[in-house]
């Protein structure tokens, strides 16, 4: 009987401890506090522009073989620790079947003119729904930023099933610390 009580207590303690540690590892919505050398540091980014990148009022309508639309998104390090880009994912609203008919390429632009962009993703928008892991090339230090180039187009092979559709996408960018994978 006493042995059972001890086991139950031990199990409860471990369960509570596991939950506490699990919760501690969940990043908050805006920033994540990290303790390095006893000091609190923040992993925190901001996006610029804060407004949406793509809209038909500026970009026009997509159709098979329509011109590619390219937009830049700056990811700014407003925290205390460096980061790398590590993941994209998207949530779709409206005529979400359109996500299968649109292609997206994401590049991480270099700092200088001579520096080649780093390829991060090329595929359908719909594939971003599940999230894709990517390898950011640059370590972005505190106060600096990296520019992501998003290019969207509709391939010439797309058919009539995509006529007259409208879809909205929230595109999430995730960064990580420490820098090594």
């Amino acid at each position: 009987m006493k042995y059972k009580q001890i086991l139950t207590s031990a199990f409860t303690i471990m369960l509570v401890l596991s939950l506490v540690m699990f919760m501690a590892n969940q990043p908050p919505a805006s920033a994540h506090a990290i303790f390095l050398g006893g000091k609190e540091k923040n992993l925190d980014i901001e996006l610029s522009p804060k407004q949406r990148l793509f809209h038909p009022d500026k970009d026009g309508y997509f159709y098979p073989g329509s011109p590619k639309i390219t937009k830049n998104l700056e990811v700014i390090n407003v925290g205390d620790v460096p980061f790398r880009i590590c993941r994209f994912n998207a949530t779709f609203y409206g005529n979400i079947s359109l996500a299968t008919g649109l292609q997206m390429e994401i590049l991480e632009l270099g700092k200088g003119k001579g520096e080649k962009p780093n390829f991060l993703y090329n595929g359908t928008l719909s594939s971003l729904a599940e999230g894709v892991e990517v390898n950011g090339k640059s370590a972005i230090p505190q106060g600096k930023s990296v520019t992501l180039q998003f290019t969207v187009w509709m391939p010439e092979t797309a058919g009539n099933e995509y006529q007259g559709l409208t879809m909205t996408a929230d595109i999430a960018v995730t960064v990580r610390f420490p820098l090594a994978k």
Partner: protein, 207 residues
């Protein structure tokens, strides 16, 4: 003994918990670019004809010729199909082609030497000669390719070599008018007695 066992269980549990926590190998932060909107354009061709005078998706029985006999001509001076477009994007061109079938009289006329023309309608289509093919006043008959090389422009030729690159129709309420004249070849024989040639003209807006 109990104390030892309890200690062992707690140590194992602690190590397992730490190991589990170690799976979260890095910290992360996520920000979202919201409200990105993607919209595709539309191409929409509308039609009307001389006896259906409102814009609609398709018209029927525009050209009707009855009791045709070899050598008959049908100028169709009154009959026309109007074409107009709506939609959010401007097409690049208009394509015109056709499809057809043959309906055999039932029971077939005794003089019908081929009661199975419905199974090979191309033979009748080759006898249906196009003599006028006008879009907004411009004659495009010469642009139809003589696919079978018989020296005639027939519905067989139009089906097998669609006429492409035609000017796009103007937007709705203006309209582009398509006119057609037809001749039933003098060479058509008894194979086609009592047969009905059912023609579908196909107008397609191309990007």
């Amino acid at each position: 003994m109990d104390t030892k066992m309890l200690t062992a269980i707690l140590v194992i549990g602690l190590v397992a918990t730490m190991a589990g926590a170690g799976l979260y190998a890095y910290f992360s932060d996520t920000e979202t670019s919201k409200g990105n909107t993607f919209t595709t354009g539309t191409l929409d061709l509308k039609t009307m004809d001389w006896n259906e005078l409102t814009w609609r998706d398709g018209v029927t029985a525009t050209w009707t010729a009855t009791n045709m006999k070899p050598g008959d001509s049908f100028p169709f001076d009154v009959e026309f199909v109007g074409l107009s477009r709506s939609g959010t994007i401007t097409p690049g061109s208009l394509e015109i082609t056709c499809n057809y079938s043959v309906i055999e009289e039932s029971p077939p006329t005794e003089a019908d030497t081929d009661p199975y023309t419905n199974e090979h309608p191309d033979t009748m289509a080759k006898q249906m000669i196009i003599t006028r093919f006008k879009c907004n006043g411009t004659e495009y008959l010469g642009s139809i390719v003589d696919v079978d090389g018989d020296g005639q422009k027939t519905f067989y030729d139009l089906k097998n070599s669609p006429l492409t690159g035609l000017p796009i129709p103007v937007v709705t309420d203006g309209g582009t008018f398509f006119r057609l004249s037809v001749k039933f070849s003098e060479d058509a024989g008894n194979d086609f007695q009592g047969d009905t040639f059912d023609l579908t003209m196909i107008f397609t807006l191309k990007q």
